[in-house]
C-alpha cells in the first residue's frame, strides 16, 4: 500500500509539473461546456428569407409584417423572377423564399381560399424542415386571426404542456450531452497517452523491472486523472447550474457517484487503448479520430437513437457516453433516483469490469 501511494505521488508530480498541459486539461472542458451550452440550439432564429410578393395587397402585407416581427426570420424583400431564386440559393445566405401569388387578398376574401408558396433550400434539410414548420404555423395564426369573429362549430382545442423544459431551451438537451462527450474524450486521451508515452520514452522498462507489481503501475497512472476529472466534473456541474441555468432535481450525491463511475469506465477504456498500442500517435489517432465522431453521433444528444437503423442502434450500446447521457439527463432534469437508473449503472459497471479484465489479460510485462 505504501508503495502504491508512493507511485501515485510520482504520477501526481508528473501531471502537476507540466503546467501547460494542466491548464489545457482544466480550461478546455470548461470552455467547451460554456461555448456549446450557449451556442447549440435546435431551433431556427434569424433565418434570412426572401419574399416575392406578386400581390402587394393588404393581406400579403399584414402576413409579411407578422412573419417579419417573429424572431425566427429576417425578411429580405425582393421583386424577383423565379430564375433569380435559384441564383440566390446558390450564393448560400437565403434559407427560404415565400411567394405570394397575384390577387392574394381577393382570393382570400371572395373564394375563401388563397395560396402561399414556400420554397426552401433543402440542401440543409434540418433548417428547411424547421423553416417550413415555423412559417406554416405563423400563417395558420394569421388565418385564425382573420377568422376570430367567425363561429366555428364543434371545436376541439388541444392544450399543450411542455414537461421539464417549458421554454424549450436547447441547453437542457445539449449540456448533459456535451458533458458526457467531453468527459469521455478527455479521460480516455489522458490515460491512453500517458501510459503509451512511458512505453515510447522507454521509462516503462524501468518501472517493469522494479519490485512493484506491474498491474499496480497502470492503476497508479490512472489515479491522478481520476482526481483531475472529478475536479472537472465539479466545475462543469457548477457552471451548468449557475451559468447555464440547468436544474439539478435529483440527488447531487448520486450524480457524483455516477460521474465517478463513468470516469472510471473512460479511464479503463484509455488503459485498454494504451495497452493495445505502442506509439503515442496511434493511441491519439484511435482515441480522437476514431472516437470523436462516433461519440458525438451515438451519444443520442444530437440524433435520436431510436431513428437509427437497427445495426447502428446495437453499435450505439457500446458507446459509454450514451448511458451517461441518459443518467445525467434523468438525474438533473427529470429528478429520478437510482431505482430508475439501475440498468444504465449496471451497464457502465459491466463495461468497466470488462475493459479492465481484457486489459489485464493482454498486459505484457515482457517488452518483446
Amino acid at each position: 500500500m505504501k508503495q502504491f501511494l508512493a507511485f501515485v505521488r510520482k504520477e501526481f508530480y508528473h501531471v502537476l509539473r507540466d503546467r501547460r498541459t494542466l491548464l489545457i486539461l482544466f480550461g478546455m472542458p470548461i470552455a467547451q461546456i460554456l461555448i456549446f451550452g450557449f451556442a447549440l440550439t435546435n431551433e431556427v432564429k434569424d433565418s434570412e428569407i426572401l419574399v416575392v410578393d406578386y400581390a402587394k395587397d393588404n393581406a400579403s402585407q399584414e402576413l409579411l409584417t407578422k412573419i417579419g416581427s417573429s424572431r425566427y426570420f429576417n425578411i429580405r424583400q425582393a421583386a424577383l423572377s423565379h430564375n433569380e431564386i435559384l441564383s440566390t440559393f446558390r450564393k448560400g445566405k437565403i434559407k427560404a423564399v415565400v411567394v405570394f401569388p397575384a390577387h392574394f387578398n381577393e382570393d382570400l376574401l371572395h373564394q375563401n381560399k388563397a395560396q402561399v408558396q414556400i420554397i426552401t433550400d433543402a440542401s440543409d434539410v434540418n433548417t428547411a424542415n424547421m423553416v417550413t414548420n415555423y412559417l406554416s404555423s405563423i400563417i395558420v395564426d394569421y388565418q385564425n386571426q382573420i377568422n376570430a369573429n367567425l363561429e366555428i362549430p364543434y371545436r376541439i382545442t388541444p392544450e399543450v404542456r411542455m414537461l421539464y423544459n417549458p421554454q424549450l431551451k436547447g441547453a437542457h438537451g445539449f449540456v448533459p450531452g456535451v458533458m458526457a462527450l467531453v468527459l469521455l474524450l478527455v479521460s480516455v486521451m489522458m490515460t491512453a497517452i500517458s501510459i503509451v508515452r512511458e512505453k515510447e520514452t522507454g521509462t516503462m522498462e524501468i518501472l517493469l523491472v522494479s519490485p512493484f507489481k506491474p498491474v499496480l503501475v497502470i492503476f497508479a497512472k490512472a489515479f491522478p486523472y481520476l482526481a483531475l476529472s472529478l475536479v472537472n466534473v465539479t466545475a462543469i456541474l457548477l457552471l451548468s447550474v449557475f451559468v447555464l441555468d440547468l436544474p439539478v432535481k435529483g440527488s447531487v450525491a448520486l450524480l457524483f457517484a455516477e460521474s465517478t463511475l463513468f470516469i472510471i469506465t473512460c479511464l479503463a477504456l484509455g488503459i485498454f487503448i494504451s495497452i493495445k498500442t505502442s506509439s503515442q500517435q496511434v493511441a491519439m489517432l484511435i482515441s480522437l479520430m476514431g472516437m470523436l465522431l462516433p461519440t458525438i453521433m451515438f451519444s443520442g444528444f444530437l440524433f435520436p437513437i431510436e431513428n437509427m437503423p437497427l445495426p447502428l442502434q446495437v453499435i450505439s450500446n457500446i458507446v459509454p457516453s450514451k448511458w451517461f447521457y441518459i443518467i445525467v439527463k434523468s438525474i438533473m432534469i427529470k429528478g429520478l433516483g437510482l431505482a430508475a437508473l439501475w440498468r444504465e449503472t449496471l451497464i457502465l459497471l459491466g463495461m468497466t469490469l470488462f475493459l479492465l479484465l481484457v486489459s489485464l489479460k493482454s498486459f505484457k510485462i515482457r517488452l518483446q
Binding site: D18, A39, N42, Q117, D124, R161, M189, I193, Q281, L288
Partner: protein
C-alpha cells in the same frame, strides 16, 4: 528546390513506414463515412405516444386510430391514469401523452366545444415541438372530419383558408443522407489533415530528431513546406476516396463542377494544415498538441453548421464561426455538390480561406525557431 525534394522523400518515407498509421489514415475515415450518415437522421417519426383515454367513446377510439395511422406515432402505452403515463415519460418509453377527458364525445356535441390535453417531454426541443405540431394537425384534421359529419358542408369553404404549398429545392424528398454525407466528409478530411500535421513537428521535438534538422542549412520555410506538402497530398487522396464513397455508396453526384470543388479544397487544406503546424510549433509534447487540437476540432465541428444551424447561435458564437475554416468547407461542399454553385458563387469563401492559409502558415514559419 533540391532540398525540398529530399525533405519530401524523407517525410513520405516516414509516413508510409508506420503501417498502423497509414491504415488508420485511409481506413478509419472511410468506415466512418460509410456508417455515420446512417446514424444521422433528424427526421421525427416513431414518436412514442402514451394515450390516457378517460372517455372510451367511438370518437376517442377514432381519434386514436387516426393518430396511429398517420405513421408518425407509435402507441406505446394505453393507460388509465395520467400518473401511469407519466411513468412512461420518465423512463423514456413515451415522448408525448395525449389525455382525452371524460365525456369528450358528449361535450363536443352538446357544448360545441371540448379540450384535449397534450403533455410533451420537452428535454429534446426539436422532437417536442415537431411532435406537438404533428399531433396538433392530426387533431385538426380529425376535428374537420367530425364537423363534416355533423353539419352539411357548404359548397365553398365558409371561412378564409390559406393553403401553404411547400417545395424543397435541391433535395425534394428531404433526404438526410444527401445533406449529411458531404458534411461528414468535410469533417473527416479536416481531422486527418489537422491531427497529422499537429503531431508531426512536435514529435520530432519530443524524439529529438529536430536537432538534426536544426543544424542543417535547411531554410525555415522549406522545412515547413516539406511538412505541409505530404499531408496536403494525403488529405487530397482521402478526400477523393470520400467523394467516390459518396458517389457509389450513397449515389451523391456533385451537381457543380469537380474542378471548383478541388480548387477550394486545395486552398482549404493549406489553411487546416497551417493551423496544425502552428499548433505543433507552439507545443513541447505530443500530448499538449493533441489536447489543443482536440479542443479546436470540437469547436470547429460543433460550430461548423452541420449539426445545428449557425443562424440560431448567439452573436458571439457567430463571430467564432467566421474564423472557423470547417464552416466554410461545409458550406462550400453543400453549395457545389448539392446546389451546383459556380466558382464565382464561392469566391468569398475561397478568399477568406486563402487569407487564413496565408496568415497561419506565415505564423508557423515565424514561430518555428531553429535555436533555443
Amino acid at each position: 528546390m533540391r532540398t525540398l525534394r529530399f525533405l519530401l522523400r524523407k517525410e513520405f518515407r516516414q509516413i508510409f513506414r508506420d503501417k498502423a498509421i497509414v491504415a488508420m489514415i485511409f481506413f478509419m475515415p472511410m468506415v466512418q463515412l460509410i456508417l455515420m450518415p446512417l446514424a444521422a437522421d433528424y427526421e421525427v417519426r416513431n414518436i412514442n405516444l402514451a394515450v390516457v383515454d378517460h372517455d372510451k367513446s367511438p370518437y376517442s377510439q377514432k381519434l386514436i386510430s387516426k393518430i396511429v395511422a398517420s405513421g408518425y406515432f407509435r402507441l406505446t402505452g394505453y393507460n388509465t391514469s395520467f400518473r401511469e403515463a407519466f411513468g412512461l415519460i420518465e423512463s423514456d418509453k413515451a415522448d408525448l401523452i395525449l389525455e382525452i377527458p371524460h365525456d369528450f364525445e358528449r361535450n363536443l356535441i352538446r357544448e360545441d366545444h371540448e379540450k384535449l390535453f397534450v403533455a410533451v417531454n420537452a428535454i429534446n426541443g426539436t422532437k417536442a415541438s415537431l411532435g406537438g405540431s404533428y399531433l396538433g394537425s392530426i387533431i385538426g384534421d380529425f376535428n374537420g372530419d367530425i364537423r363534416m359529419q355533423l353539419v352539411t358542408p357548404p359548397r365553398f369553404s365558409q371561412f378564409p383558408v390559406i393553403e401553404v404549398v411547400a417545395s424543397n429545392w435541391f433535395n425534394p424528398v428531404l433526404n438526410y443522407k444527401v445533406f449529411i454525407v458531404p458534411g461528414i466528409l468535410a469533417i473527416l478530411v479536416t481531422m486527418v489533415g489537422g491531427f497529422l500535421s499537429a503531431l508531426n513537428i512536435v514529435r520530432e521535438k519530443e524524439i529529438g530528431t529536430i536537432e538534426q534538422i536544426n543544424v542543417t542549412p535547411i531554410r525555415k520555410h522549406i522545412f515547413i513546406l516539406g511538412k505541409l506538402i505530404p499531408f496536403w497530398v494525403l488529405a487530397n487522396i482521402v478526400f477523393t476516396i470520400g467523394l467516390l464513397v459518396a458517389r457509389f455508396v450513397y449515389g451523391i453526384v456533385p451537381v457543380g463542377s469537380l474542378l471548383t470543388l478541388y480548387a477550394f479544397i486545395s486552398v482549404y487544406l493549406l489553411a487546416v494544415l497551417g493551423f496544425g503546424l502552428l499548433v505543433s510549433t507552439f507545443c513541447d509534447t505530443q500530448q499538449q498538441a493533441m489536447f489543443i487540437m482536440f479542443f479546436f476540432m470540437m469547436l470547429f465541428i460543433l460550430l461548423g453548421g452541420l449539426f445545428t444551424s449557425i443562424d440560431s447561435m448567439p452573436e458571439w458564437a457567430k463571430l467564432i464561426t467566421r474564423i472557423n475554416p470547417v464552416r466554410y468547407m461545409i458550406e462550400v461542399m453543400r453549395m457545389v455538390i448539392l446546389k451546383g454553385s459556380s466558382f464565382s458563387d464561392i469566391l468569398p469563401h475561397v478568399g477568406i480561406v486563402a487569407f487564413m492559409a496565408l496568415v497561419l502558415n506565415s505564423w508557423a514559419i515565424l514561430n518555428y525557431k531553429k535555436t533555443n
